[in-house]
Amino acid sequence: MSATSNASIDLFQEQILAAVKNKTPLSIEGGGTKSWYGNANSYAKLDTRTYSGILEYQPEELVITACAGTPLKEIEAALADKNQVLAFEPPHFGERATFGGAIAAGLAGPGRISAGNLRDFVLGARILDGKGQDLSFGGKVMKNVAGYDVSRLLPGSMGTLSLLLEASVKVLPRPAATASLRCNITQARALQLLNEWAGQPLPLSASCWIGSSIGGNGELTIRLAGAAAAIKAAIPIMGAAVNASELDPQVASKFWAALREQQLAVFSNLNSDETLYRLALPAACGTLAFQNVNGDIALEWHGQQRWIKAPGDDATFTSIKALASAHGGHATRFKQGSNVDSGTQRFTLLSEQVHSTALEAVQTRLRTAFDPAGIFATSRLP
């Protein structure tokens, strides 16, 4: 570590201790590209970007260790240089996205359905807790069961547990080959096929269905990734089932990137009084009927992640939450239009889930253990 990096950690520690003293929570932020995600707050910011840089990267170890403030694109460029990738494909949502921000948000892109969630890839973390203590958990190896897996508690914690300083994540080789197929089929047929394919030894790596929620054909795009021979063998099997055509590789790669970054038409043009809702659902969940949906809906992860645009009021969110919950999932107000009340609760609460009420107390005690003074308790994540 360079002297400057230590200086920035010292500064973080000072900020934390001052916050404890003044009882003023800190809102941790990297590039601010996801500042709209999660519950709003107006607490003072702690900018992680002063602690930046790749600390260790040896391609044959399949691990990269970097500071939280490192630009995500810097990480991805270093990996690309060695023909490796972050297989969970974290969305950037802007040029300034950081490594730490991606981990704290815990979001994953199209590859999540085959490669796993972001937390599956986290191997270790160095943090400053709410007392300013410099702590390290996990490590830089694939298998490690020494102590509780605290580093995997951080993904998706939205900075409400501690300040992430550094993380080690597992990386994977870029697939030897990829191909994308597209066809027009109904949502029900797409859900059926995707689940059937996923249960066969086929190199299915991602899927996206975009269409109307009230029926009719939509556009299904699937991505195959793996050994060239496996893809060559799979294309006729999968293509023939749905009369699909293969996409030009450049068109395909632009499509998957635009899907990950939510730049497709189905995500954009959010009206000022609307909200983009995210539903996380079990694989068994079939077609859902929504009310007041504006335009097309999008299904990713073989239907396990669904996006709809609908009015941003509490009543609409309540009905969407109820629908998701009835199917064993949950819903989030992912992104809100400019006229929607910014003070809304964006997430499904533990108390709204089956067999989760007791976990509220566990979660509160966990937060207190890492942050006794509550300086990271920004309510960004309930």
Binding site: E60, Y148, G328
Partner: protein, 501 residues
């Protein structure tokens, strides 16, 4: 294998007997007669798990048959403040299920129903006592299987797998238990039923499933597990490559990964192991090789052909002195037979063996092996090295004679030094066997006071009274202070408080 000793009655015997009869009378009304054991001749099989060197008699053993009974047992013990040691199949290698003298052993072995198999969503819902291999067997006709395959998979239970975050020979490609479990239903120490994770890709709030994985029975008692099933590969073939130098073999492992290949399995055995197992399984291993690599490819026939060709090229370039590729399933199993039988083969060479489980970055494999060679001389004990080379998880098997107290002491010190070397080489003291009671002192070396204090914070968040398996995995500050003093003075056994054989 390891001789049993007589259990000497501790001084507080009267108090223990009183507590025992109080506990037994509290549990009797809620359990069938055969599900509650307290006579020494009935509870003695539970005095240790797969790590037979550490043993202790419990107050009683409960073998509930329903989730409801588990919840009631927990509520009763919570009210009585009696600690609980959950237990699966008892195959653990770190003493994680070793009883507590004033506690109850809670065996989940009778909860062994496969509740549901859903081929469409590729999931199975099973009770904790279901054996790992039983899941794959139950879904084989659907072309599916449960990927993590610890060596003990024929006997170990899924509840135990969750608590140890078990791996196996295929975890480099298919992941650990963590990556293959969607949801865990469990009961907190106070008797409340909770669910961690969900069938959806994520859940509200903090990711508590992630922290329950590998928590060694200290956070909740698992009563139901929903596992992910994956499509069974159509074909698997394995390359057996010999190297005349350990470092060359270690470098070949790195070269495979650097070439962008993730083998389905990548295992290594040293010369001593190869010789020991060859005598046992007659697999035709190259006995002159300093090290042997087993490198497996699975998938469609086209995929496997392509990958085997790429792997062969890399291994040749890495200086393999011999390469054999399995031509059929029988031959593939034959090549693997030695690796799978390394432990029993070690058992033939010596009265006892002590299995270590450190994990290090792949680049340090050669360094660690050289150091272990030095330690063999220092401690005057032989060591077989088999390991999951793909993920740097080493299983040195230290050979010793347990009947000789002094030799066992040396074996323990040998093991501790290997673990210290693993930490120093940027690794960890345990990759998949867990800390349990065995490596609790080494936790003082891997983690500082702040981290250990945080672990206790996590423990208390789930179990504020610290009644669930409280003496395992996380050392108290006192223990580490004691251990520090002991290391300086250079004497004493690692666990002076425990019964010895």
């Amino acid at each position: 294998m390891i001789p049993m000793n007589m259990v000497t009655p501790p001084p507080e015997l009267a108090a223990i007997t009183a507590l025992q009869s109080k506990l037994v009378s509290a549990l009797r009304p809620i359990l069938p007669e055969h599900a509650l054991l307290w006579e020494p001749e009935d509870t003695i099989p539970y005095e240790c798990d797969g790590l037979a060197a550490y043993r202790r008699m419990p107050l009683a053993v409960a073998l509930p048959e329903t989730e409801e009974q588990v919840a009631q047992i927990l509520k009763i013990c919570f009210a009585m403040q009696v600690p609980i040691v959950p237990r699966g199949s008892g195959t653990g290698l770190s003493g994680g299920a070793m009883p507590i003298s004033q506690g109850l052993v809670l065996s989940l072995a009778k909860l062994k129903k496969i509740i549901n198999i859903d081929p469409f969503t590729r999931t199975a819902v099973v009770q904790p006592g279901v054996r790992n291999l039983a899941i794959s067997e139950a879904v084989a006709h659907l072309g599916l299987y449960y990927a993590p395959d610890p060596s003990s998979q024929i006997a170990c239970s899924i509840g135990g797998n969750v608590n140890e975050n078990s791996g196996g020979v295929h975890c480099l490609k298919y992941g650990l238990t963590l990556h293959n479990v969607l949801k865990v239903r469990g009961i907190l120490m106070n008797g409340e039923i909770v669910e961690f994770g969900s069938l959806a890709p994520d859940s509200p709030g903090l990711d508590l499933l992630a922290i329950v994985m590998g928590s060694e029975g200290m956070l909740a008692v698992v009563t139901e597990v929903t596992v992910k099933l994956v499509a069974k590969p159509k074909l698997a073939r394995v390359i057996m490559a010999s190297f005349d130098d350990i470092e060359k073999g270690a470098d070949a492992v790195a070269a495979i990964i650097a070439a962008g290949i993730i083998p389905a399995g990548l295992e290594m055995m040293d010369k001593a192991t190869t010789r020991a197992v060859e005598e046992f399984v007659h697999a035709g291993y190259d006995l002159e090789a300093e090290t042997i690599l087993l490198c497996e490819s699975d998938g469609t026939p086209e995929e496997v052909a392509e990958e085997i060709e790429r792997m062969t090229k890399v291994l040749e370039q890495a200086g393999a002195s011999g390469i054999q590729i399995s031509q059929n399933e029988a031959e593939r199993l034959k090549f693997w037979s030695g690796r799978k039988n390394a432990f029993p083969a070690a058992g033939r060479l010596a009265a006892d063996y002590y299995c270590m489980d450190g994990t290090i970055p792949r680049r340090n494999i050669g360094t660690l092996l050289r150091r272990i060679q030095g330690m063999e001389k220092k401690y005057g004990l032989a060591c077989l090295n088999v390991f999951h080379a793909g993920d740097g998880n080493m299983h040195p098997l230290i050979l010793f004679n347990g009947a000789d107290q002094e030799e066992w002491h040396r074996a323990e010190e040998f093991g501790t030094e290997i673990l210290e070397a693993c930490v120093e080489l940027d690794g960890t003291i345990t990759g998949e066997h867990g800390v349990g009671i065995e490596k609790i002192n080494s936790m003082c070396i891997q983690f500082g006071e702040g981290e250990r204090e945080s672990f206790w914070g996590v423990k208390s968040a789930f179990d504020p009274e610290r009644l669930l398996n409280p003496d395992k995995a996380i050392p108290t500050l006192n223990r580490c202070a004691e251990y520090g003093r002991m290391r300086i003075s250079g004497g004493n056994l690692p666990h002076p408080e425990l019964e010895r054989f």
